[in-house]
């Protein structure tokens, strides 16, 4: 289809229809499990207990089942001599890093640890054969909650006797003590943020093919970052040479963080393909994905705010216990430390902040980044705490916020927790949101309804998020074991068509459309002449992937930088061909022109042909027209906004009805407003999900009670309101495109907006705080016991 710009005529900033859609709409698009239709199937036996010594594993019956090709255990993997250790990717001082083997051999640490793998001719036989494997366990007690795990017996890992993986702190504690001593008032809240299961609709999957002749191994998988998966499989788990390992992320059905990490499963699948020298594939069942893939959040927090009677915030003190699960995935340590504590200043000039985070091992599925990762947890703390303080002071929630907003002229603004915000016009976005909901009228309506025993609640939440992970040097200094750049290649073909390669990896964000818009803008070439290639380590030179709202700011930055380099080379060739001084060559809408002589011009596509002919280009210049960039951002980008939820709560049933939801977001320049709005919608839905419905619950034995979609409540179409969205535009001053990233913003804003609204509705019942999810039962209990918190 032809993609046309909006009336503005500019392709960048237009709501161009997505080129991804036709194949997805007709069923032609191929996801991982659609690959290798003739492959054998892998099924993986999971520990049925959360914590146990493994005594004996008898696979003989499974091996004898018709259709079973082979059965492997952890000992087989060990015996193959591969490195067999999944590492975490962010070191903190004193961090305990136990080994994480692909399959357990002596001890299982959560109900989900892999014990054996069956390879069979079809998926049914593979799963049936799992029941034939006889495992004898000696059960041990389990710990499942982060605060209770610290110092508890039993220990999850021998290396961490007290179950503490790290004890992190940031900020100036003396300055905070002084601020608290000097302030008129201290408000406090204790809160929990339950475990969320990310739930992309496509479960994790892998398919592997091995060519013993060339030693080339290809793995198709549900990956948000195929190059990271290649590096980890090469160096840490399989030991397969990186140059003979190809990772392909075909269509990926949602990620939300879950598909960032290197799990044992894809390595087991690839290892089986090598071992058997045949194609194999694996796809998690939904329940299997629930117990093995990462969960998010799992924080227990005490937070205090030092504030004067006039609303001036002087300081903030936070202590959090963060559950990490039984194994450390790649961002498990970064998420509750540097992605969490560094955002606690939200949009406010708080000054003195101190935060301590104790990361605890538990006998549960691993906990790591889920959409909003760390920033969602941090903003939730601040935005809840502000509402508690506003109530204590007798101020309106908007008044307390407004009194402490960072002013536009304070940027770049360094927070008390080490971040330097790039730009922001916070009050403008907040005013816009309050104007759309008609805040003052709502307060009047709330008062009227209360007279009639009806309970309206209005919740406001502001947020900032650190997006665009991340400047490599700064991340390295803080403990990251990976860079934060992104790679982008822009290549003209001789005919004038363009190929763009980027190391980001789409899971529904529409990169093939938006990155083409970026290149079209820079090159002045029709968008339909530009192809975007992602998600294949043999095609894209290198990459860091898609997470942390980084694809537009960092991936887009890489593509823009490469396109600019291409234009500069083309300008030199154009000057040569037009026999003009390079300084006199202007470039507009894809055409090089001699200043003041518009008849002397050449199109960039024709320059491309000349560049490949090489007959008439400057001496010393190499033929060809392409450029590669490793764009390393100067700083994070800081999108922000204000979300407002209006709810009515029925105290008799505990039911919450969201009557209105307004989101005003500022993600800087927008490449494609339609796609930006889509990200906001989806983010709001997940944020509301966390506030009202979702929680992964374990029993004391470490069994996941919410182990299927029957038990884990996901928001459905009828559970969600219509969203009203608007935006302001405050460009990032350091990003080549002025963009800030938008993937996580709405998830971060929505959760505190909804919880603030429900608590506001329950003000007559003297409720100060309620922990999520705000189910009917939670609300009803709070109302009937008055001041339930």
């Amino acid at each position: 289809m032809t993609s046309q710009p909006d009336a503005s005529g500019r392709i960048f900033g237009s709501s161009v229809k997505r080129r991804e859609d036709p194949a997805l709409l007709t069923g032609e698009a191929e996801f991982t499990d659609d690959k290798l239709p003739d492959a054998a199937h892998v099924a993986i036996l999971r520990s049925q207990f959360a914590h146990a010594d493994l005594k004996e594993i008898d696979t003989s019956e499974a091996e004898n089942r018709d259709g079973v090709i082979d059965v492997f255990t952890g000992e087989d993997i060990e015996a193959s001599g591969i490195p067999n250790n999944i590492p975490t990717a962010w070191m903190l001082p004193g961090l305990v890093t136990p080994q994480y083997r692909l399959m357990a051999t002596d001890k299982v640490r959560h109900a989900g640890d892999a014990i054996a793998a069956v390879v069979a001719k079809d998926r049914y036989v593979a799963h049936e054969a799992l029941d034939d494997i006889d495992v004898s366990y000696e059960r041990l007690d389990a710990v499942t909650e982060p605060a209770k795990a610290v110092g508890a017996d039993p220990t999850v890992h021998e290396e961490a006797e007290d179950n503490v993986a790290f004890d992190f702190d940031i900020g100036d504690s003396d300055a905070v003590d002084d601020a608290f001593a000097a302030a008129d008032h201290v408000s406090s809240v204790e809160l929990e943020q339950p475990r969320i299961i990310p739930n992309p609709v496509e479960p994790r999957a892998a398919a592997a093919s091995y060519d013993p002749g060339s030693d080339e191994l290809t793995v198709w998988m549900t990956s948000q970052n195929p190059h990271l998966h290649r590096m980890l499989m090469s160096t840490a788990t399989l030991g397969h040479p990186e140059h003979k390992l190809q990772i392909v992320a075909p269509e990926v059905g949602g990620g939300f963080g879950k598909k960032i990490y290197h799990y044992p499963d894809e390595a087991i699948t690839a290892w089986c393909a090598k071992q058997l020298e045949r194609d194999v594939k694996w796809q998690a069942t939904r329940s299997e994905d629930y117990v093995t893939g990462n969960h998010g959040r799992d924080h227990v927090t005490e937070a205090e705010l030092a504030v004067d009677d006039d609303g001036t915030i002087r300081g903030m003190r936070v202590e959090t216990h963060a559950g990490l699960g039984a194994h450390l995935l790649q961002f498990a340590t970064a998420t509750p430390s540097y992605l969490y504590a560094t955002i606690l200043s939200s949009e406010y000039d708080i000054g003195a902040i101190h935060c301590r985070v104790i990361g605890a091992f538990t006998n549960t599925a691993p906990v790591d980044a889920y959409r909003g990762a760390g920033r969602a947890e941090g903003i939730y703390v601040t935005e809840r705490l502000l509402n508690v303080a506003a109530k204590d002071l007798g101020m309106d929630q908007t008044e307390l916020r407004r009194a402490n907003l960072i002013d536009p002229d304070q940027f770049p603004y360094e927070t008390g927790v080490g971040m330097v915000y790039d730009s922001g016009e916070y009050e403008r976005a907040m005013d816009r949101a309050l104007e759309i909901v008609e805040y003052e009228n709502l307060r009047d309506r709330q008062a009227d309804l209360r007279e009639k025993d009806r309970y309206l609640g209005i919740g406001v939440a502001n947020f900032v998020e650190s997006a665009g992970l991340s400047p490599s040097k700064a991340a390295g200094e803080l403990g990251s074991k990976a860079g934060g750049w992104e790679a982008g290649v822009v290549r003209f073909h001789p005919s004038g068509k363009v190929a763009v390669y980027c190391g980001t990896a789409d899971q529904g964000q529409g990169h093939r459309t938006t990155l083409a818009q970026v290149a079209a803008e820079e090159l002045g070439v029709p968008i339909d002449d530009i192809e975007v290639i992602e998600g294949n380590t043999d095609k894209v030179p290198q990459g860091m992937g898609t997470y942390g709202s980084r694809s537009a700011p960092v991936g887009g930055g890489a593509v823009a930088t490469s396109a600019q380099k291409v234009v500069e080379k083309a300008r030199t060739i154009a000057a040569h061909q037009l026999e003009a001084d390079e300084a006199d060559i202007e470039f507009e809408d894809g055409e090089f022109q001699v200043k003041g002589a518009p008849q002397r011009s050449i199109r960039i596509q024709d320059v491309a042909m000349q560049a490949y002919l090489g007959h008439d280009i400057p001496d010393e210049m190499e033929p060809g027209l392409e450029a590669t960039s490793y764009y390393d951002p100067e700083n994070f980008t800081f999108p922000f906004g204000t979300h407002v939820a209006v709810v009515e709560v029925d105290p008799d049933t505990g039911e919450v009805e969201i009557q209105q939801y307004v989101a005003v977001d500022d993600c800087g320049e927008q490449i494609n407003p339609m796609i930006v709005e889509g990200q906001i919608h989806g983010g709001i839905a997940q944020g509301i999900g966390a506030a009202l419905f979702e929680s992964a619950e374990y029993d004391d034995g470490g069994n996941l009670v919410t182990g299927s979609m029957n038990d884990y409540a996901l928001p459905r179409a009828n559970d969600l309101p219509e969203y009203e969205t608007d935006s302001t535009v405050t460009p990032s001053p350091h990003n080549p495109l002025g963009v800030k990233g938008v993937g996580e913003s709405a998830t971060i804003g929505a959760t505190p907006a909804v919880v603030n609204a429900v608590v506001d509705a329950l003000e007559p019942f003297d409720v100060d705080h309620l922990d999520m999810p705000l189910t009917n039962e939670t609300i009803w209990s709070a109302v009937t016991t008055e001041g339930g918190s």
Binding site: L25, T26, F31, V201, G254, G508, M709, N710, R716
Partner: protein, 165 residues
Amino acid sequence: MNTNTHDITLTVNGTERELSVEPQTLLVHALREELGYTGPKVGCESSLCGACTVHVDGKPVKSCTLLAVRADGTEITTVEGLDDDSDGLHPLQEAFQEEHGLQCGYCTPGMLMTAASLLEETPNPSRKEIRESIEGNLCRCTGYQNIVNAVESAAEKMAKQEAGD
């Protein structure tokens, strides 16, 4: 291997197909793995996500809840056969693209089949009716609003087409 297989006939997207399935084979796996119709997706194996929705004799069915042998002799439409006019997209498919009613696209084949059934039964549904009709189809990306917009817009398109015919 289990030799207790059954020979069945399915008419898929208008083409009669004969195949041999085991008693426990689910329709979704027969379609995907025996016949190569990979449009229907597997998301939960428990009838809760709706990604595997197809039409069986004109009714929307989650194909992970139906044994292939039970579907013997039926007419099945998958997303690959939604558009009976081969030179374009079905109005629903067009509307999903125009209204940005999909992101990752994994739920989309099932969502489209459910929506197509709704519009057959209720050509002019309210937004509430649309939301109710897709309660059994989970989408984690879009927050549903643009899906509702797309179904509403497709209904209008189809009404106009009907009036024009």
